[in-house]
Symmetry: C2
Subunit: 289 residues, 2 copies
């Protein structure tokens, strides 16, 4: 994990515009928002799926960078005063607090553009048709029928009691779509993946994506701010429906555990080459931050 995280830090630092290129303040803020923080869960998933597909690391680091840029853009916009209005992220002041709101808006916008640009570069080195498919995968996961749509549902759900299927619908969009894209992009970085293989890793990704959110909800009400690197207790304070509010802590924990086992079960047809994916299912559910 440490190796992939270090590799990603270097790749992102290289792909982001240098801080001395005009407009400097925007480029500095983009680097601030992306570098030096984050668990890099999505890149880890991308690399793990890439191991299954025997994909070259040079290719995986570009695909994973694109996903991480989309993720970082969504955090910057999500933290803005008109959305979650949060001051702390990854243990640092949020982008609009460190810089200003207008800059943070443009940081998110520019990070999204850069994600698609990176995935469209010849450096990716896949066959052009496969590359277009990866671009479509990322766009579907990020857009109004994916992550951004999930944010909207989240926004319109404040103060409402959602049923469990409604909650799941929200999170499959808000977090699940991009996590699934991370895994699928990794799988697409190798030889053209067989449909049966894609189906299994896709089911794995579905379980892991949901588990990630269930655990996030549990940690939000159990872990301290210092450990999380972001404001704890935010969901309850903002009156947001969560798995904890919908089913209670004990049942949420049991459900996260069953999702972990289901994710591992989805990989049962694979051997040691799926080892990293199995470990990540454990990491995502058993993490304490």
């Amino acid at each position: 994990m440490g190796q992939v995280q270090a590799r990603m830090e270097a790749a992102l630092a290289r792909l982001l515009p240098a801080p001395e290129i005009a407009p400097q303040r925007l480029h500095q803020a983009m680097r601030y928002a992306v570098l030096g923080g984050g668990k890099r869960v999505r890149p880890l998933l991308c690399f793990a799926a890439g191991e299954l597909a025997q994909a070259p690391a040079e290719r995986l680091e570009l695909a994973a960078s694109a996903v991480e840029m989309i993720h970082a853009y969504s955090l910057v916009h999500d933290d803005l005063p008109c959305m979650d209005d949060d001051a702390l992220r990854r243990g640092k002041p949020t982008c609009h607090v460190e810089y200003d709101e207008a800059t943070a808006l443009l940081v998110g916008d520019s990070l999204q553009t850069l994600a698609f640009q990176v995935l469209a570069e010849p450096a990716l080195g896949t066959e052009a048709g496969a590359q277009l498919q990866m671009l479509r995968l990322l766009a579907q996961a990020a857009g109004s029928r994916g992550m951004a749509g999930g944010q909207a549902i989240d926004l319109y759900s404040v103060g409402k009691a959602l049923s469990l299927p409604e909650l799941e619908f929200m999170h499959i969009h808000k977090t699940g779509a991009l996590i699934r894209a991370s895994v699928l992009l990794g799988a697409h970085c190798g030889a053209p993946p067989a449909p049966a293989m894609l189906e299994r890793v896709s089911h794995y990704a579905h379980c892991v994506g949901l588990a990630f959110q269930v655990v996030d909800d549990i940690l939000d009400c159990e872990a301290p701010t210092a450990t999380l690197g972001k404001t704890a207790g935010k969901d309850a304070a903002q009156n947001k429906p969560t798995y904890v509010s919908a089913m209670g802590v004990a049942q949420a924990k049991a459900w996260a555990e069953s999702l972990r086992l289901e994710a591992r079960e989805a990989l049962s047809g694979f051997g040691a080459e799926a080892g990293r994916l199995r470990e990540l299912a454990d990491f995502i559910v058993l993490r304490k931050f």
Copy 2:
């Protein structure tokens, strides 16, 4: 012009998610921001360049839709309170006034994603390598070293007196980059364009892009709000450096005229197939709104 505008309205209405798809409010707001308004200058330029390149209209309408979605996203974000804080756009309340700030933020985000998705679809029907090049063209034009970078420079220039080269640098990014991309994408929708042809239309696009901004600055201080469909006199009120503030109205008008002639001169090697591009240079400079 009316034909292309009607065709674009239909294409955009088809490509945008239907208003009854969840999350409905987001999709309704996306349609509100894009449909039923705007001069569609960028699509017109894309189609005009496509005529030069003998490109099929089905392909042009997808490329032009992608550009127009990027343009619409930039307007929605630019109108937000933390940016220009404007209440009127295309003769209607701005997106955040009609809906709310958080929705407008997600509308812009989702429109940008959709632009890249449209350009990555197999429906475009170009050779995959050429399609990737079009994606890179659009990403470079939209990102932090293009349009979004220009917005940042604009933001950081409020209250400053810019020199003419600084003003030009800002506008080449803020407006020029996407206008150039509109023309080049149109040219790429036909047979693989010759470098000499690209160089000439690129120079045309540079002149037209700058002229567009010079005229915008003139209209902002001369035309009434009702004609513009957006708040007039905004630049002076917000203390923004413009061509009018930098060189005066008379010289700005003379310069717009010389850019129009230079744009037409760039096309002198072409025949009737460049007719629409010539007409658009005239339209952009001689328009009254």
